[in-house]
């Protein structure tokens, strides 16, 4: 049995992402869909694996986050509890569907997990997705450790069902990838013995947001938000702990740093706390009670001043003189993860504790030590592909001028010397869209790199654009049979498949390229001379072409041979 399913009504040592899975299964989730993305990946991975043990659960890895959002939206419209999860930038991709989902609403509870990544541990930006809740006008819960991730997942399902709205559940890397003690309930195994189908009750004047419907639904949504605003103030896991005239308002992982810092500073009995987990709509009534009882309020939240803006507006509206200290005063920065020491220092500063200093060793060796940038694994086929293409372009005398748009995956590591073959990147699929622009704007050769999974995620439509609008560049599809970087999730073109989807078809990338009538070659990157001969003619011609470099990820190959 899957380890997350083991044990009822006990304490488990779970990763934040595993706690979400446990909470979802205890809540009788039936349908899940997701595209992998760190730091959210373990949610999908575990739901995928769990289907072996729970016949009543369906999960699929969708080609991208928007498709995943559409799948769970429809499943929920049929009355089934559903979940999707994604990294913060994944919600950008899914946002089109997400925004309308708020208007048409849901039937079965629908939880949308966004895992944000302050400090960009594995991302191209550190956007604060709490503003998506505000933008889409949906309720949002913020977890601050694995246990709250578990509890809030369960709360999110009932909240969603009660208000017939999707609920955004927000974590960050330091919550998703923290492992802590979670007090779990029971798994409803009886419920999961068979997959129980739902029923879609037609209601086009709700589910089809043509302008007349959309206008009506928006008003309805705003009415729901008002009700939710009241509920947020009485929400069980929003806590106002009144103590003295000094106050702190916090959400997310910073809650832990605040509690530990107060203990270290000996202030735990003097400082009033407003700990928030239900943060959109903002719990105004509760926050007002807090602001009226303190003279100073320090706001401790990572990234954007979301709570801070709400608190300031509230204080202004009610004519309160409470001193609010946060990002505006540069007490804490708007970038990167916080550290406990940083929070401790900020609080000592804000509360004028002059004697407090953190003692750190008087030396630092970090700039004298060798760096360890992540690198392509030994024997990785991507490295071979990069090397042989570089050689051909060098032999042609145009390598230095060639522009290498790249994409999101292990192969972005082509940025490292000695390869230096990553020049421009925006987001998933941008390696195919941006060459269309480079082609118009410069005479430099463009050789772009994209992985198989990213190709299916967001590379198909720009390739059609390139063909239709007559853009000239060479696209290299690094087809390694898997979604490697996030932990080997399935990809439509793969030939080595997980036993769970053994009967799924293979969709070869070359057939898609053929259908678009684009010249292409398929190479084996380990056969260097043969591959160089195949690609040279394509690179010499100034026309749209595709090189498919086909060789499985060595880790994936080894893993599947071992049968895990």
């Amino acid at each position: 049995m899957h380890p997350i399913l083991k044990g009822d009504n006990c304490k488990k040592f779970l990763l934040g992402n595993e706690a979400i899975v446990r909470g979802a299964v205890e809540s009788r989730v039936q349908v899940g869909a997701a595209y992998p993305g760190t730091p959210s990946s373990e949610i999908g991975n575990n739901l995928f694996q769990m289907q072996k043990d729970l016949s009543g659960l369906y999960f699929e890895f969708a080609v991208n986050e928007k498709v995943a959002m559409e799948i769970v939206g429809a499943a929920s419209a049929c009355g089934l509890r559903s979940i999707t999860c994604m990294k913060h930038v994944g919600l950008n991709v899914a946002s089109d569907a997400f925004m309308s989902l708020a208007y048409v609403g849901v039937e079965g509870g629908l939880v949308v997990v966004t895992a944000d990544d302050p400090s960009c541990h594995s991302s191209q930006n550190e956007q604060d997705n709490r503003y998506y809740a505000k933008l889409a006008q949906v309720p949002m819960l913020e977890a601050f450790d694995p246990h709250t991730a578990y509890v809030l997942t369960k709360e999110a399902f009932s909240l969603s069902e009660k208000f017939k709205l999707p609920v955004l559940l927000r974590t960050t890397t330091r919550v998703s990838h923290a492992r802590g003690v979670v007090e779990v309930g029971a798994i409803p195994f009886d419920f999961y013995t068979t997959f129980k189908k739902g029923f879609f009750k037609k209601d086009p004047f709700r589910f089809v947001p043509v302008p007349a419907v959309a206008r009506k639904q928006h008003k309805l949504l705003l009415e729901k938000l008002e009700e939710l605003q009241n509920l947020a103030s009485s929400f069980n896991f929003n806590q106002f702990i009144p103590k003295g005239k000094l106050g702190i308002c916090a959400s997310g992982v910073a809650v832990n740093y605040v509690i530990d810092a107060l203990e270290d500073l000996g202030l735990q009995d003097e400082v009033s706390l407003l700990i928030l987990t239900f943060t959109h709509p903002f719990p105004e009534k509760l926050a007002l009670e807090f602001l009226s009882q303190v003279e100073t309020c320090v706001v401790v939240e990572e990234l954007e001043p979301y709570l801070e803006e709400n608190l300031r507006a509230l204080a202004y509206t009610h004519g309160l003189k409470t001193k609010i200290l946060g990002k505006k005063e540069k007490l804490l920065p708007r970038y990167f993860e916080f550290t406990p020491t940083q929070v401790k220092e900020a609080l000592a500063n804000a509360f004028n504790l002059k004697r407090f200093t953190v003692e750190v060793p008087p030396f630092d060796f970090s700039d004298k030590l060798p760096a360890r940038p992540p690198v392509l694994c030994q024997g990785c086929p991507h490295r071979e592909t990069y090397k042989l293409i570089k050689e051909v372009l060098q032999e042609m005398g145009i390598e230095e001028r060639t522009i290498y748009p790249t994409d999101i995956g292990c192969y972005t590591l082509g940025i490292q010397p000695p390869l230096n073959m990553a020049d421009y990147l925006l987001c998933m699929g941008s390696s195919v869209g941006t060459p269309c622009g480079f082609d118009v704007a410069t005479d430099q050769r463009v050789v772009a790199f994209i992985g198989d999974s990213t190709f299916f995620h967001a590379g198909l439509s720009p390739l059609v654009n390139a063909k239709f609008n007559k853009h000239n560049f060479t696209l290299v599809v690094l087809d390694n049979d898997t979604t490697a970087m996030t932990g080997h999730q399935p990809v439509p073109s793969q030939t080595i498949k997980s036993p769970i989807i053994q009967d799924h078809p293979t969709i070869p990338i070359q057939k898609i390229v053929e259908a678009l009538d684009i010249p292409y070659v398929v190479i084996n990157p380990y056969k260097k001379e043969e591959a160089k001969e195949l690609i040279q003619p394509l690179l010499e011609k100034q026309e749209l072409s595709v090189i498919i470099a086909k060789a499985p990820c060595i880790l994936y190959k080894t893993k599947s041979q071992k049968g895990s």
Partner: protein, 197 residues
């Protein structure tokens, strides 16, 4: 109880996650509040890996001047994280270097660490070097370095848990075919520290 904060550092692929999981499961059994952080994703590809441990507290992050202990699976990584330490920090360091890819390729240097260690040991009083690779090999697999280090850390009594509690958690987490090697690795690390104390 007073908070105990620590850091386990090393290089992607050294098995740091198992170290913290065994410790965490042992804490869970003993009803000790515990939270750790793990590194997943791209950073695992041969990069620097750090895992924070916090017992009796809430923060899954051990930052500057906070560590009660630092377990380093690689000597340069111990040095990289000294700013997280305080005067009384206990260091347990596996002394065998792992060369970064750039060093193997010849485009970077792996410096002589001895001068840094001299500076370090003149400031900190409790720096313990462990022949990690040798002990892991003796146990039967270089991969068992993580359990050598866990055994060593246990012998130093940096966790409020005894050998039996950690061994029990370890055996429960590992498949049976790996029990012997890892148990031996744990005890070799444990006994090594006891022999030099």
């Amino acid at each position: 109880m007073k908070k105990i904060k620590g850091l386990v550092v090393g290089v992607g692929g050294q098995g740091i996650i198992l170290f913290t999981r065994v410790l965490g499961e042992a804490c869970l059994k003993a009803d000790i509040p515990v939270i750790v952080s793990e590194v997943h994703g791209m950073a695992q590809r041969g990069g620097v890996v750090e895992s924070s441990i916090c017992l009796f507290g809430k923060s899954p992050y051990t930052s500057e001047g906070e560590a009660d202990f630092i377990v380093a699976f690689e000597p340069a990584e111990a040095l990289r994280f000294v700013k997280r330490a305080k005067k009384e920090t206990k260091f347990i360091i596996s002394k065998d270097p792992i060369l970064p890819f750039a060093v193997k390729e010849g485009s970077a240097n792996y410096p002589d660490l001895n001068p840094f260690f001299e500076e370090m040991t003149s400031y900190f009083n409790q720096v313990f070097l462990v022949p990690g690779e040798e002990l892991a090999k003796e146990a039967g697999s270089v991969k068992a370095l993580n359990m050598v280090m866990l055994g060593a850390a246990t012998a130093l009594e940096i966790f409020p848990l005894n050998r039996e509690a950690l061994v029990e958690a370890m055996l429960e987490l590992l498949p049976e075919k790996l029990h012997q090697v890892n148990l031996k690795a744990f005890d070799l690390g444990f006994n090594y520290i006891k022999s030099i104390l």
